[in-house]
Amino acid sequence: MVACATYSLPFAIQPIKAAFEKLDPRLRESASVLGLSPLATFFRVVLPNSKSGIAAAAILVFLHSLGAFGVILMVGGSIPGETRVASIAIYEAVESFQYEKAWILSLAFLPVSYFFLLLVNRLTRREAS
């Protein structure tokens, strides 16, 4: 989990950074005039108004982790029920000539990926508006 999260972190930074940058700077100024400390401003103003960007980042990291292969195989190996993730299962199915199993697993990924990509798209549009 830790290795996977670290590996995927760069994919979260960009959308979160973009969400923070899109925030109207006057909101921060307004919070400051109202007497909020920078930390309170972050938690009470910046975070709630960047929710969509943070959610989009979380989904992108999730999708990236879903397809992660090398890092998980190197750090966690392939222990059934513990560290064997879908991508490793597909790899092993191909390696052992179980092509049908590999096809089914790969196809199962397709609707999941599309669903989350549509969600990211929606969240990004909401953020922009």
Partner: protein, 238 residues
């Protein structure tokens, strides 16, 4: 030393702001002038949102800024109310949530909402109400912190004439009730004449009394600023 005492200078590209003025305790000072004259920058420097290159800003004897001694009090420690030009409200909160955001006492927000007639839309988000209602809410938000000094940056510029008149009456009444010192930025001479005790014309970053005389049509002897205040009929047309 009661009241606000400002002497500041700042260079912004071609514009060089260099002003000195005082606003007595409990009075309203209007900074009036054409767009781009530096009025908003002056008010932002008083709020601490921008720093002057040089000068001092004192309020009730407290030093907000003093370049010579290196003092620059942070915005939040200045305990001011600031109403931004275009209704800066937090979009994730309701109108009441916005007004109560930094309120000292929620009952006070209830009173302000009653006073400004905002109760029927108190649970709506800023994006779901009119400009006038947003503006009222912004004033409530600023007043609920019990500011020592209220800074208003063209607060009625985007409102229709009827709403503008109503809102400025309400603001004037509440300001008098609380004996607040107010620094008010506008380019509307009518508003300045109605709201202010002292009018300060700012043109190209400098105080320019002749400019007010020109636009009000006032002439002859006497201080044009005080003359304009004495004779508001000079420019009461919208």
């Amino acid at each position: 030393m009661k009241g606000l005492h400002v002497r500041l200078s700042r260079r912004l590209g071609k514009l060089e702001i260099d002003v000195a003025f005082s606003c007595p305790e409990g009075s309203t000072l209007a900074l009036i002038g054409p767009s781009g004259a530096g009025k908003t920058t002056i008010i932002r420097m008083v709020a601490g949102l921008e720093q002057p290159d040089d000068g001092t800003i004192l309020f009730h004897g407290e030093t907000f800024f003093d370049r010579a001694s290196g003092i620059c009090l942070s915005t939040r420690k200045r305990r001011l109310g600031y109403v931004f030009q275009d209704y800066t409200l937090f979009p994730h909160l309701s109108l009441f949530g916005n007004a109560a955001f930094a309120a000292k006492d929620r009952r006070e927000v209830e009173d302000l909402f009653r006073f400004f007639g905002l109760n029927p839309m108190r649970d709506r988000r800023p994006g779901q109400v009119s400009g006038g209602e947003r503006q009222r809410c912004a004033i409530c938000q600023a007043m609920a912190t019990r500011p020592r000094l209220l800074l208003l940056d063209e607060p009625f510029s985007a409102l229709d004439v009827v709403t503008r008149r109503k809102l400025r009456d309400e603001l004037k009444k509440i300001k008098e009730e609380r004996r607040l010192s107010v620094l008010y930025v506008t380019h509307d001479i009518t508003e300045a004449l109605y709201m202010a005790d002292v009018i300060l014309p700012v043109v190209d970053g400098k105080i320019d009394r002749d400019w007010l005389e020109e636009i009000t049509g006032a002439s002859g002897s006497g201080d044009p600023v005080s003359k304009a205040v004495r004779e508001p009929k000079l420019s009461l047309a919208f």
